[in-house]
């Protein structure tokens, strides 16, 4: 990249020396071409799960500062947006037939699986960067590290594939090619749908800017998914004071029973 800038500078210098009258050009050349930077924002930084929660669509938009693209459709830049929730350990089981009954087999533990993971890109991300780069950045399901040493056995592969398939089915893993679009020389946007089963926690949104298959810059921001209102209260209550929560549930049940008895009693 640096050499590219140097070459451009050299060409300008040469042009300048051929036309000495253009002194202003030389002044510009001494300053290096500003490096592109990404600024981004998310439509909702705090996602509140309450009783009517059935999923939410968030809008992620940003701009490429110092864009060198001429028109929106030049395809000079590629953007990959990766949203992920904190990784957590998962156990994966396969049902096996034992004496005519389908029984869960022994579990396999995956120490760190993102609860939610979504990749959106301007075009198929495999066409944007090399497999090596994608692997290093953890872009794409197959490049995710679940913390389980890949033994390379076909069985291990089957489990891993099934894990991804199940996550995709629940919309907790998403890959969207051509989902990021440029609306100007520097402005881009994408939407990501978070399903109802979305885990709570602090999510990260990584925006990778690529030019000619090389990563130029990364912009990271966070969003918070929390349970709020009555549901959040119940959830926190249940985990922070489990005994009181249980007693509370019993009291509610007794009251409900007695209310029914009182309302419907025949006098």
């Amino acid at each position: 990249m640096k050499t590219a800038i140097n070459c451009a500078a050299l060409i300008v210098v040469l042009a300048g020396s051929l036309a000495p009258a253009a002194a202003q050009d030389q002044v510009q050349v001494t300053e290096p071409v500003p490096r592109e930077e990404v600024q981004s924002e998310i439509s909702t930084r705090e996602i509140a799960i309450q009783s009517n929660f059935t999923g939410i669509e968030i809008l992620i938009y940003g701009s490429v500062d110092f864009s060198q693209a001429g028109t929106p459709d030049t395809g000079k830049y590629d953007v990959i947006v990766v949203i992920r929730s904190p990784a957590e350990p998962l156990v994966m089981r396969r049902k096996e037939r034992v004496a005519g009954i389908w029984v869960n087999g022994p579990g396999r533990v995956y120490p760190s699986v993102p609860g939610f993971y979504a990749v959106s890109s301007t075009r198929p991300f495999r066409a944007i960067a090399s497999d090596e780069t994608l692997k290093k950045l953890g872009i794409g399901f197959t490049n995710l590290d679940f913390g389980r040493p890949a033994a390379g056995s076909p069985d291990e592969e089957t489990f891993r594939t099934a894990l991804i398939r199940l996550k995709v089915k629940q919309q907790l893993f998403q890959e969207h090619d051509d989902a990021v679009s440029f609306v100007g020389r520097s402005l881009f946007k994408t939407t990501v749908a978070l399903p109802v089963k979305v885990p709570i926690g602090r999510y990260t949104s990584d925006i990778y800017l690529f030019r000619d298959g090389k990563i130029i810059t990364v912009n990271q921001s966070t969003l918070e998914v929390t349970k709020v209102g009555f549901e959040g209260l119940v959830y926190r209550f249940a985990f922070a004071y489990p005994f009181l929560y249980g007693v509370f549930a019993v009291v509610i049940a007794v009251l409900a029973g007695l209310t029914g008895w009182y309302v419907f009693r025949r006098e």
Binding site: S51, N52, K95, F159, V196, K227, E231, I252, A253, G260
Partner: protein
């Protein structure tokens, strides 16, 4: 429409469907005079609620349905307090065992399987016995023969057991051991299956302890209120599997359905009611058995570590 997010089960369910489920089970339990847990918990499992949450929430639901019944019996003076206390003591031990067993199975990923299997076995046997008995009773009623008289209390092995106590209201002087055992088994079932256990306790009290029928229902309801309440608290404390939002929806439906069930039940004859209930119990057992035997559409399952299907 009317989707409600359950904070502990972490799924979204339809409010109308769950209210309807609570009302239907309440209706049936009011009609047949049973707690309804053995119908509710399997229904919840079949509708996609994880088994361990279905069990804990089912137990909480029975607190609601049995509380009003127990109060009514109490006011009628048909509760043998001392017998109730012995049954509760047994129930506490059984409940602890059951909660720990379910927690262990859940962590091993086998809770769904073992709970379903136990249900299939228990409901299959109870349903078949009830159907057999009620069909005979219906035939007898058609022929116009009277029901055979109960054999009078004989001195059996039960009377040779130690730890004898006097149960004034039941007019009994027997060992506390069988009552403790009955209480313990019921408590285990409550914790493990989310049922009240009346369907087991009532016959055991009548045929094993030979308690007078008029105090049996009141005393069993008395035990059920306390043991289901304890099981609810234990599940909430030890495994955080109680979903109070789901429990409340079910209770609201159940309380209303229960009242109409009682009225509907009064229009049917006892043996017809028992035959109907037996058919329903068998249907639930068969539905659960199919789930275990039919090839599943998805072989794989994922769960957070420490939890299972």
């Amino acid at each position: 429409m009317f989707q409600v997010y359950l904070p502990i089960a972490e799924i979204s369910v339809n409010l109308v469907v769950m209210l309807g489920l609570g009302a239907a089970v309440g209706f049936l339990s009011g009609m047949f005079g049973v707690g309804g847990g053995f119908l509710l918990t399997p229904f919840l499992i079949v509708s996609g609620i994880p088994a361990s949450i279905a069990v804990a929430t089912g137990a909480n639901q029975i607190v609601a349905t049995s509380a009003s019944g127990a109060l009514a019996q109490w006011r009628r003076g048909t509760v043998d307090l001392r017998m109730g206390a012995v049954l509760i003591a047994g129930g506490v031990a059984g409940a602890l065992g059951g909660v720990l067993l379910l927690k262990f199975l859940r962590e091993a990923g086998q809770a769904g399987l073992i709970v379903s299997l136990t249900y299939v076995g228990l409901l299959g046997v109870v349903g078949a016995l009830m159907l057999n008995e009620s069909v005979r009773a219906i035939r007898r009623a058609r022929k116009g023969k009277p029901a055979p008289a109960r054999r009078s209390g004989q001195h059996s092995w039960i009377h040779r057991l130690p730890l004898k106590l006097r149960f004034t209201r039941s007019h009994l002087y027997i060992s506390a051991v069988p009552a403790l055992l009955i209480g313990a088994i019921t408590g285990l079932l409550t914790a493990f299956l989310g049922v009240g256990g009346g369907f087991l306790m009532v016959p055991a009290m009548i045929y094993l302890l030979r308690m007078p029928t008029n105090v049996v229902i009141g005393t069993s309801l008395f035990q059920i209120v306390f043991v289901t309440a304890l099981v609810t608290v234990l599940h909430a404390t030890l495994s955080q599997t109680l979903d109070v939002v789901l429990a409340f929806i079910l209770a609201a439906g159940g309380v209303i359905g229960g009242q109409y069930g009682v009225r509907a039940g009064q229009k049917l004859k006892g043996e017809q009611l028992r035959a109907l209930l037996a058919l329903m119990v068998l249907a639930v057992a068969i539905r659960l058995a199919f789930g275990l035997v039919l090839p599943p559409s998805e072989l794989f399952s994922i769960a957070p570590v420490g939890e299972g299907a």
